[in-house]
């Protein structure tokens, strides 16, 4: 009986994955270049949401600073693209800002390999350092969240102030080529879409693997009772640092993809508002479920596009209404709705993940 049930659930699950994968793989057939480009951007956002879910949904740490990690990844890629576009000359904004030579820290970014590695490792490292000083000192809850907000303000101010090195409020824009291929051509765009799909699937697989592993169990244990975990003999700080760092690395990866799709990165993408928006995607989608977080990012951003195109004057009200509906009636997010189905509930109960999950207050 159990076995048959299991297999039926597996079947459902597989069918779900297959449907999602088919939808992603067939999208280029149905969507115009512009819409495909938008979808690719949303998929990049979904990668951030996965990372955030890892740290918030599974470890119970609310970060309102993921915009910074996203932005760092974006800047790394943008620096490479800008150097490529300038073709050996000084990037235009440095020219206006009175620089006469390329700053030393820009130089290695002329290599794609370096830029790519930096786009993931830089945010991960920053998160590791921040985590080292906070988690080790048992700073948690609201205090950690406030610290991440401070990180956002510091970084944004720094990036705006150093116009000669970062492009200031304008950010870095005006590049057209990747590996000699025009970023504007539909072929490149489709290629980038595939790259994003693969990155999203890889990120999902990584998160799923982490969550299902012993590591993931410890993360959930930290979320539900950090002191108990400590008493059992684990050091929660290390787990929190690693989870936070992976989460930041994923945000960096997403930032790089974002720049390739949108063609601009500016401090406005790493500020407080986008950082909070990222958390909203996870909250609305359903924290503590990976698929919910990813779906949340895609759905909310689609809604934003649709509403703002149809009602440019009033779209914010519709977004607000959507948030209210979800918060009031679907406290577990859109994914919570899936959980209402009987078979899923049964399956969860079996795994000891029933309705009784309590998130510590943030």
């Amino acid at each position: 009986m159990h076995k048959r049930l299991m297999s039926r659930q597996r079947l459902w699950l597989l069918a779900g994955y297959a449907a999602a994968a088919t939808a992603l793989f067939c999208a280029p057939l149905f969507l115009s270049d512009f819409r495909l480009n938008l979808l690719a951007k949303f998929l990049a956002f979904a990668i951030v949401a996965l990372g955030l879910d890892l740290i918030w949904g599974y470890t119970g740490i609310l970060s309102l600073g993921h915009g910074v990690f996203f932005g760092l990844g974006g800047y790394a890629m943008a620096m490479y693209l800008k150097l490529e576009a300038s073709g050996g000359r000084l990037p235009d904004f440095m020219d206006w800002s009175g620089l006469s030579a390329l700053p030393w820290f820009w130089k290695p970014f002329s290599s794609f390999g370096f830029a790519f590695a930096a786009g993931i490792l830089l945010p991960a490292l920053l998160a590791l350092v921040l985590g080292y000083f906070t988690f080790r000192n048992r700073i948690k809850g609201v205090y950690f969240t406030i610290l991440t907000q401070a990180l956002v303000i510091i970084t944004v101010t720094l990036f705006i102030g150093q116009q000669a090195f970062t492009g200031g409020t304008n950010g870095i824009t005006g590049y057209g080529k990747l590996f000699g291929q025009s970023l504007a051509s539909p072929d490149t765009k489709q290629m980038l879409y595939w790259v994003t799909v693969i990155a999203l699937i890889a990120a999902y697989a990584l998160c799923r693997f982490l969550v299902k592993s012993r590591f993931g169990k410890v993360l959930r244990a930290i979320r539900d009772g950090e002191n108990r975990v400590r008493f059992i003999g684990y050091n929660p700080a290390i787990y929190q640092m690693v989870a936070f760092s992976i989460s930041a690395g994923l945000a960096g990866l997403a930032g790089m993809l974002f720049v390739l799709h949108v063609g601009i990165i500016s401090p406005s993408m790493m500020g407080i508002v986008p950082s909070i928006e990222m958390v909203l995607w996870v909250a609305i989608g359903g924290r503590g479920t990976l698929i919910g977080a990813a779906l949340g990012a895609i759905l909310l951003n689609s809604a934003k596009s649709v509403f703002s195109e149809s009602y440019p004057d009033a779209w914010l009200f519709f977004m607000g209404l959507l948030f209210v509906i979800v918060v009031v009636f679907l406290p577990k997010g859109a994914a919570g709705l899936l959980g209402q189905f009987k078979w899923l509930r049964r399956r969860r109960a079996k795994h000891g993940e029933g309705d009784g999950v309590h998130y510590p207050a943030v």
Partner: protein
């Protein structure tokens, strides 16, 4: 529990309905306007034009008025029979004060809606974000705000002033009339930093002296420290490139510190009639600004323009330079299309060369080389009624020179371009 399921399902359905209505109204618009079979061939009595300003976020307060002026111009043109006998249909999008959103919406307007041209943008950052999109898709953007120059995209027409039509003549006038020592104060972003770089070169060349230079983040509201620095430096002139809310704080605190326009000259390049309304005329009275147009500019065209604007949007509304430049943009584009006999971008650009029009600010002319506009420079003083009194103007419209090639001292600024 069961009840809960139904509750959530029904709510999700409601949410879905909203989404669907959103989509369907979108589609209706599309099929309606889509009958012309796409952008540049518009054969069915309609031409779609895009309007892309921030309707939400921090820039909305400024950009909504420009959008309204552009809509008014479109309505006026439609009332007179449209362009090439076809009606203009505006497609409005919200840039949301967010630069990547400007890029996204610009792309949408050109490739999805197939608009013939786009009127939009305010901040330099939004223009820089849209520029690659317009160049990539060969679109046409009309940008209505004074800016820092050093740019001339083949796909953008700049209907606001460049530096040699606002900042450079203002500095020259100040040096001749108000004194030699300058204090530069600006918001921390591209326009003030670039503008001040130019001013510093010019001061060196024309015998002025720089006694201080300060930048504050956008939205900054505490100017006590900076005002003490100004008091200590005792400049003849404070050249103010602050933007937005910061102006309110700066001028109020300047007055509280006991400094009035009689003690020291302050010239602003981002304070127009609309900002006076927000800041309060009592603190601004007597201070100076440099623009190409004031609501008080005395031309017959301006009389009609101000009258119509007030009739349409309310008697308490004011017009200002960027509002007028947005209005001009629509008429200039329409005239170029009439002349070209087509909305094709290349043909419109060709036809626009040397095009003249009697704008509310006086006669303006498109420069064929850099797609900027010949404009008259005006220095005005804030009066008790919130309007400007013109102290000086350049007489004839000044030829736009975005790279300041005509100024020897500016050689190092445009290096590499």
């Amino acid at each position: 529990m069961r009840k809960n399921v139904w509750k959530s399902v029904s709510l999700l359905l409601i949410a879905l309905c909203i989404v669907i209505t959103g989509c369907s109204s979108d589609n209706k618009e599309k099929t309606n306007a889509g009958t012309d079979g796409g952008a540049n061939t518009a054969s069915d009595g309609e031409i779609k034009v895009g309007i892309l300003h921030s309707l939400s976020g921090t820039m909305a307060i400024s950009e909504v008025s420009v959008k309204e002026a552009e809509m008014m111009a479109i309505d006026e043109i439609n009332a007179k029979g449209g362009v090439l006998g076809k009606k203009l249909v505006p497609v409005v999008e919200d840039g949301a004060s967010d630069w990547p959103t400007f890029a996204e919406k610009a792309r949408k307007l050109i490739s999805e809606d197939g608009v013939a041209t786009v009127f939009g943008g305010w901040t330099s950052a939004s223009r820089k974000a849209m520029l690659p999109v317009f160049e990539e898709l060969n679109g046409l953007l009309w940008y209505p705000v004074q800016y820092e120059g050093l740019e001339a995209s083949p796909n953008i027409f700049y209907t606001g002033a460049t530096t040699n039509q606002q900042i450079v003549p203002a500095v020259t006038w100040l040096l001749q009339n108000r004194g030699k020592t300058f204090f530069l104060l600006g918001s921390d972003y591209v326009f003030p930093r670039t503008a001040n770089k130019i001013i510093k070169e010019q001061l060196k060349a024309e015998g002025g002296e720089l006694v201080g230079e300060e930048y504050t983040p956008l939205g900054h509201t505490d100017y006590a420290t900076i005002i003490s620095k100004i008091k200590a430096a005792k400049p003849d002139v404070v050249f103010n490139t602050l933007n937005g809310d910061s102006n309110v704080a700066f001028f109020k605190q300047l007055k509280d510190a006991g400094i009035t326009a009689k003690d020291m000259t302050t010239l602003s390049v981002s304070v127009a009639e609309e900002e006076i309304r927000g800041i309060g005329v009592d603190v601004l009275e007597g201070h100076l600004a440099a623009w190409n147009y004031y609501q008080s500019t005395d031309t017959p065209e301006n009389k009609t323009f101000v009258e119509n604007y007030k009739k349409k949007y309310g008697a308490d509304r004011v017009t200002a330079d960027p509002i007028e430049a947005g209005y001009d943009a629509v008429y200039l584009w329409a005239a170029a299309v009439e002349k070209a006999g087509s909305t094709d971008v290349a043909k419109v650009k060709e036809a626009a060369k040397g095009l003249e029009w009697d704008a509310p600010e006086g006669k303006i002319k498109i420069d064929g080389d850099n797609q900027h506009i010949y404009k008259t420079v005006r220095i005005g003083e804030v009066q008790a009624d919130g309007q400007f009194k013109e102290l000086w103007n350049s007489g004839d419209p000044v030829k736009p020179d975005p790279y300041l090639k005509g100024y020897d001292w500016a050689g190092s600024l445009s290096a590499g371009n």
